[in-house]
Symmetry: C2
Subunit: 426 residues, 2 copies
């Protein structure tokens, strides 16, 4: 059997250098089921990281839907097909008016690429604001929103990055209301700069959970003032629900609902069809018409019958297995356990999250981000049979985001292993 | 049952206006197999248009590969997996050196979006040249290459569109060598303009079959002078094989091989996995490294285990069923029959093509493009049970591009129907 080293060499040759992998010693996964993954040596891992297999790896209902539709028909939306309409009806029912129309594409990147152009077509302006520690995808346009790597060709003059919210908690665990105004002020300043340079503001795009920013704890209404200022300047608000969407947060089906604001455009991706390449853009009929009348957009694979079957089956499973309320309950249990670890381990601070999107900061004795520990912990957890990772500006925030099928016994395995590994490493 | 009119109304409401469909009375397809499609009323259509179901609609081997892998594992390339490496090895074996590495993505648009940035990262320049009657995809960046619709926000200063080759035949059926030099001159002039404006040339991107341009008959070596001039100016040549690739042309596996030139970057899409959302970029290890060292590109669904299984099964079927040589033979038979129709019907001229990518011009009595006939013919063919369409600058060139599984009896149905419909319409 090919060794991991040989596989890595072959990867380097065939896929190129710098093709990202997880872990210093990448894992060779060959099988998955529910929240479990197996490597080629038969070792089992509890998946506490992947949100793409949203209702569980290889869920039989989603697999059957894909297999049946692939055997029946897989064309495209230039022919009429009822399934895509039925699906979009079911999907848009989960949004407040006027978000009642949708476009299906293949990836979150494609969705965000369309969303920014929808905002530009609607507003007639070009300026875009994103946070300074985010990721919204990999097309040329969307690479402008990332702040970790300079896009090929450099940054465009129409983009502004504003400081990410920190969600600093007061002593009693509450968020200071000031941060909401502070974020609105940053956005206002970026609007001013875009207007001064003649771009104006087309859109603010944010993940409503600020997932890559380290999902700071933010109060409901946090974005209200910001959204009002963006709209006053004639811009739209885009919520990228690729990470928090489809019920992951437990309390609400969408991250923007949890934060209590209404976006103009919503983009969807990863968990939408449990791993089948499906993504989407949901917006009002007016904004959709502005875009579709500006360019005759067609996406060959987007919304094809198999894609729609996979996406519909994923919704079916979420509903029939009651996974959203269950995520809330399991997530509460997990957060309690994380807070108990925080109480007993100095290396863990500010345990937080919602539903099955949880984490905590890894800090040193002075309370500063512990990058060394954060660098060691994911590999140590992996060696102990649990997959997770770190995120945030300092890459020191534990990112725990298992398939929605995980139960309390899975959370116990995760937390028991985390305690053991923290003991080993600290 | 919902009427087509009600379906169209629901589409308009849920997907937006101007969502493109084929045919004035769009067809409601519910089932496919091989080169056959069935509508919801049980009517059967011979599919002479769709290249996405490359080895035939719902090919059981591809369906089984998707179903089996979807039930086993569907993660992503951040974990090690041997299948993607085995596939990329098989794929790149079909290219001449140094095209030995590949990146897998979800759509031809994503592939071309990456390819242009590869060229920019490698050359340090930004200018891009495309033809003036083409389509390479739908991202913001790639929408700049299309000439039919102004991109949202207008054209960028770094793009130039050169006149598409016409492939005008001389009396004895040969192409005048002049057109090759003429095209090279147009490209040279665009290079000069890009250099004058400080962009320089990063890449020329062409479909090596000039499919959307109406696939003019071009001699081998047509692009040699052009490619030499692009390279002399420091640019790269990108071949978009989304339409001619994977053996469709019969004589060669790739369109650029048929035209006899070596591109620096090749992009792949639609037929790659018989309808599963898979696309790719093939290039040298050097160019891949320039890109991957410039930005840490990761594509969540790109090259996942199910995508790779679908793509590998498509290659399996092509090879085991000998579909490429068969496409050459069936295509020759089809071209002979089209030329016989041309000889007997004044409305058909310049029948042409290669393998199973064929067509002919629809012309009026003066030999000018007959847009009226071209507007009527696809719907009339559809009513008679054959799906095809028109393309080219004047939308008067028949585009015949059936699944590779079609045989001579299918060609006979196509050609007999075409003769009958031409008799009816002219």
């Amino acid at each position: 059997m090919e060794s991991p080293r040989d596989l890595l060499r072959r990867r380097h040759r065939l896929l190129g250098p710098n093709t990202p992998t997880f872990y210093r010693e990448p894992v060779h996964i060959v099988r998955g089921r529910g929240e479990w993954l197996w490597d080629r040596d038969g070792n089992r891992y509890l998946d506490c990281y992947n949100n793409v297999p949203h209702v569980g790896h290889c869920h039989p209902r989603v697999v059957a839907a894909i297999a049946e539709q692939a055997a029946r028909l897989n064309t495209h939306t230039r022919y009429l097909h009822a399934d895509i309409l039925d699906y979009v009806e079911r999907l848009t029912e989960r949004f407040a008016d006027p978000l009642a129309s949708a476009m299906l594409v293949c990836s979150g990147s494609e969705a965000n690429d369309v969303a920014l152009r929808m905002a530009r077509a609607t507003t007639g302006r070009t300026g875009i604001i994103a946070t300074d520690n985010t990721y919204h995808g990999n097309t040329d346009l969307i690479s402008q929103l990332g702040s970790r790597t300079t896009p090929i060709g450099g940054y465009a003059p129409w983009v502004r990055h504003v400081p990410s919210p920190m969600g600093t908690r007061t002593a009693d665990g509450e968020i200071t209301a000031d941060e909401s105004s502070l974020f609105a002020d940053f956005v206002q300043s970026a609007i001013g700069s875009l207007e001064e340079d003649g771009h104006g503001i087309a859109a603010l795009i944010v993940c409503p959970y600020f997932a890559n920013e380290g999902f700071p704890s933010l109060e409901k209404g946090f974005l209200d003032e910001t959204a009002a200022r963006v709209r006053k300047a004639g811009g739209l608000v885009i919520a990228d629900e690729v990470q928090p969407g489809f019920g992951r947060l437990g309390s609400d089906f969408w991250g923007h609902q949890r934060l209590g604001f209404q976006p103009d455009i919503v983009t969807l991706g990863k968990p939408m069809a449990n791993g089948h390449p499906v993504a989407g853009v949901v917006t009002s009929q007016e904004i959709m018409a502005e875009f579709r009348n500006a360019i005759p957009y067609f996406n060959t694979f987007g919304g094809n019958p198999v894609a729609v079957s996979a996406a519909a089956a994923t919704l079916d499973v979420l509903d029939r297995e009651g996974l959203v309320p269950r995520a809330q309950e399991t997530g509460r249990y997990a957060l309690d356990r994380l807070r108990a670890i925080e109480a007993s381990h100095g290396a863990i601070r500010a345990a937080r999250g919602a539903g099955l999107f949880l984490g905590a900061e890894l800090v040193d004795a002075q309370g500063a981000p512990d990058r060394v520990l954060a660098g060691l912990l994911p590999d140590a957890m992996k060696r102990n049979g649990v997959l997770l990772n770190v995120t945030g500006r300092h890459r020191n925030i534990l990112k725990i985001r298992p398939p929605m099928s995980i139960d309390k016994s899975g959370i116990d395995i995760l937390c028991d292993t985390l305690m053991r590994v923290l003991d080993e490493l600290t």
